[in-house]
Symmetry: C2
Amino acid sequence: MLKLSQIFARKRTPQETQSWTGAALAPSFIILITAFALWFMPPPTGLEVSAWHLLIIFLGTIIGIILKPLPMGAIATLGLSLCVITNLIPLQQSLSSFSSPIVWLVLSAFFIARGFVKTGLGSRIAYYFMTFLGRSSLGLSYGLVLTDFFLSPVIPSNTARGGGIIFPIVQSLSNEYGSSPNTNSQRKIGAFLTQVAFQANLVTSAMFLTAFAGNPLAAKLAKEVGVIMNWGTWAIAGIVPGLVHLALLPLFLFFIYPPTLKKTPEAPELARKKLKEMGPLSFHEITMLLIFALLLVLWIFGGNFGVEPTTAALLGLSLLLFTGVLSWDDLLQEKAAWDTFFWLAILLGLAGALSDYGIIKWFGSGVENFVGLLSKPVAFAVLSILYFYCHYFFASGTAHITSLYVMFLIAIVSTGIPAPLATFVLAVFASLSSGLTHYGTGAAPVFFGGNFIPVRTWWRLGFLCSLLTLLVWSVVGGLWWKFLGYW
Amino acid sequence: MLKLSQIFARKRTPQETQSWTGAALAPSFIILITAFALWFMPPPTGLEVSAWHLLIIFLGTIIGIILKPLPMGAIATLGLSLCVITNLIPLQQSLSSFSSPIVWLVLSAFFIARGFVKTGLGSRIAYYFMTFLGRSSLGLSYGLVLTDFFLSPVIPSNTARGGGIIFPIVQSLSNEYGSSPNTNSQRKIGAFLTQVAFQANLVTSAMFLTAFAGNPLAAKLAKEVGVIMNWGTWAIAGIVPGLVHLALLPLFLFFIYPPTLKKTPEAPELARKKLKEMGPLSFHEITMLLIFALLLVLWIFGGNFGVEPTTAALLGLSLLLFTGVLSWDDLLQEKAAWDTFFWLAILLGLAGALSDYGIIKWFGSGVENFVGLLSKPVAFAVLSILYFYCHYFFASGTAHITSLYVMFLIAIVSTGIPAPLATFVLAVFASLSSGLTHYGTGAAPVFFGGNFIPVRTWWRLGFLCSLLTLLVWSVVGGLWWKFLGYW
């Protein structure tokens, strides 16, 4: 059955409670010693000493985030403190990102997402789709995809959405059909549903500014190079390739990785039973639904009458508190929200400082000379595909964005590709590429932990799905963005 | 024995997990309806409509914080959202306090305080003082006072300090001497130690900017009327009356509320046994101690070489993370820190907006006319004593400061009393007055919950202690501040 607390407990424990481990000490010392040596070297031509020092701290932080000797938040805190202590960034400015509306949009959305889990509305939606899509394994998988899609605009943690709401339903369904790793019957239906739900989770993450915590980071970084991606423009650019991708994904996996159980005539009945157990919509569920609708309306149309997305989110959060759907303690317990709040704000602050010090401009002019040798479309294709497959080295879309986004963006734009196009493609590629491995994003270890799919198969499927991803987003996306005038 | 987790669990549960309760609905509706009616009334002379609206939201928030239909953070979030939605405060400005260095000083200090509890260093210090002060009940009580004093500069939650570190030791000592509510032997020693530790906790809270979360709030508000209170000036102004008060307090309570057990010859031995059980200082305890020393040095002297207190705190926090004394998860779990961070920042933001809208000036000019009728010293005495005893209506020093601090400050200053003097007196009175009741501050219910002292006695002792407080801080404080040139 649905064991949300267990899922979350398992998911968070390994990385969050981690302190220093022996294995982490070696890389940490190498980073520190290298950074210390570089600190006293003369800066490269075109960079002032202070900019050089900031770059060293920034790169040290990035490498720390990738190697993870400590959790991301701790590494970011160290990076921030170093910048302040060395007077590279004044204290007040270093903290200024903590009042950035984009950071507050993410924080509020995390809290709002808790309401879907707490009220049970998320599960109810999944069971509802099952009642009319559940007659076959394929239909069931579409039900999961639809649920994820429906929740994605308002749940910026793909881990909470995929791991917290969808995965328990996958487990519950697999149990019902006797598909389990214990009885060696993973391929019956569990493995198929797991992979569809996991890959779809990453597609929806790419479709809305508020569907994945890394997206606002990309949007903020894009602003540094002069491209505005707000909630509306993101949703419009993403909706067509995203929907096509979601429509094809279950079919594609049904073809390359079919479940042995094709018909599931009892599923709609099971879903109806579950819905019956749940009883009619509770007051809190109805409230949640109304606030969700209000939020969507405000996010889509609010700009016309001066309501910023963050204002809308704060309003939604206030209403949830006021109506008692969420208690204050629910917010305080939402550790993932505070974690994200912390590192997101610090990374934004550091990235902003890089720009202030002229480091991004300096890097850009260096890259221009180099990439100028390639023709425009070839350079775009090579760089964006390279960017995509770099995700083999990342355990989070956010780390991917923080480390590589601006560099690749500058490189691609310098070839003459329109900036809005490159900005959006790289932004969505960060989440779309997270399906390559079983550690590529927070939701991955949760789904993988269901033990339905062996690791080699997981990687093979991840690679095959990445081909579908690149095909859909280049062909359908390309045409759609042409139509929208992006190029 | 020391049951820290239980203490914290019990302390937080009642108010933090609270959602709407029947009893809270009535006052909430009265507030809402009143506010709604006032909203459409014409503003008082001298206030613009927008300032009037802001004042209504602010007062509604304050009354909400006092009546507590929801926890303070939830009320503050509602107040903030209302201001943003009604366009009274622009979104970006409304969030700006979240990057206020003073808020970050408090947040960091909360995290640092966790290190004292986690490493066991707090308890070790208490046992250490016991080994050479513990021969008598009076000596034991001085040991507790010294421990609290020693920890106060770095633990801004008097609840964590008093409730988390000192109270478990009070319980442990009372157990050892067979003083327990179960055997009707409270007066043997437990009741006496409880009351000394509780009252001393509030004295130390008044002595350092970082000893109580409300202090930075007072300092920030004081800035609005042009008085700077930084870490150093606060400590200097508070140290003499504070130490005299701490020296007299155990004697005073020993005289008016004596323990029946006067001699405790076994206590030093017991403490030595506990210390032996603890073994030698662990690596983490030594690290904690060194970082604590570094922090004190930087807070006291850092201003001379440009290190702000918040920078020092961030450095200390980073070192604790880096050395593994604190894990990242310790920070995320520190709910009280996030709670304080949230409401403190919002209240600061609202208070700042009141000033921007000219409301404080408007209120001040109104009060001046009224208070001008009293002579200078009489007005000061009457107003500050009134401010002190208002705490019967408050469950937290911070609520006291938020609601009344600026008003009383303006009123007193308008009589001609020097602003720095009035500013400091009112600031320390907020914590000093918290000992009046068994609910006056977060630590109060913890100590009271030990069940050593019946409620009527608690109030009687609170009142008697308040006379000592007023005597010490007016006579000793008055002379000291004269010497420092405050008046």
